[in-house]
């Protein structure tokens, strides 16, 4: 397994601003993932972030709205840009272990007012 931390753990932001969420892993991993969990919903994959390549975004998510950086094998950031109340959600990063298992960080609870 891997130990994953996220910053911030929670934030309240104003409409139109941007927030960058950091994800740090205690070991080197190839695959990192960013998810969103809206209230009462399941986990929705935003994008897969592999080091050394552009992030791969899922249908419905675009780089302009959710830019991702992956500068090395232990760190990634997700930015939520030009926020609206609909972006209020829990944002989770995870890392891929073996070919199919994923381990998750504690999440960032974002409220947009």
């Amino acid at each position: 397994s891997a130990v994953i931390s996220q910053k911030p753990s929670r934030d309240i932001c104003q409409r139109g601003t941007s927030l960058t969420i950091q994800c740090q892993v205690d070991s080197q991993v190839t695959m990192m993932f960013w998810y969103r969990q809206q209230p009462g919903q399941s986990l929705t994959l935003i994008a897969t972030a592999n080091q050394g390549s552009e992030a791969t975004y899922e249908s419905g998510f675009v780089i302009d709205k959710f830019p991702i950086s992956r500068p090395n094998l232990t760190f990634s950031t997700l930015t939520v840009s030009n926020m609206s109340p609909e972006d209020s959600s829990i944002y989770l990063c995870s890392v891929g272990v073996r070919s199919y298992e994923q381990y998750f960080g504690p999440g960032t609870r974002l409220t947009v007012t």
């Binding site: 397994s1 695959m31 399941s42 929705t44 199919y100 298992e101 381990y103 998750f104 960080g105 999440g107």
Partner: protein, 114 residues
């Protein structure tokens, strides 16, 4: 269209009894299935997985059964403990087009009563 379905949003069980959580899927190309547990204000925690070529995997109190012909899997927790109270997610691993990702169900909230 949801490819992974957990049709029971909640389940209540007495301590010491068996908890059975169910999951159905539609895509026969999924190669692994996983169960995660999630407490409020925490990220999901990996519990147990099963390969699509197996029909059972056991780890302590947790057993996952896979019925490929019915496209159905279940998680059995025996005996259930109050600390097992959490939301349980079923997830299926897809490797379509070399794009590896997990497809998630909506979750089942389990309450284990003392």
């Amino acid at each position: 269209d949801q490819q992974v379905k957990q049709n029971s949003p909640s389940l209540s069980v007495q301590e010491g009894r068996i908890s059975i959580l169910n999951c159905d899927y539609t895509n026969s190309m999924f190669d692994y299935f996983l169960w995660y547990k999630k407490y409020p204000a925490e990220g999901p925690t990996f519990l147990i997985s099963i390969s699509s070529i197996k029909d059972k995997n056991e780890d302590g109190r947790f057993t996952v059964f896979l019925n490929k012909s019915a496209k159905h899997l279940s998680l059995h927790i025996v005996p259930s403990q109050p600390g097992d109270s959490a939301v349980y997610f079923c997830a299926a691993h897809s490797n379509a087009g070399n794009n590896r990702k997990l497809i998630w169900g909506l979750g089942t909230s389990l309450a284990v009563n003392p």
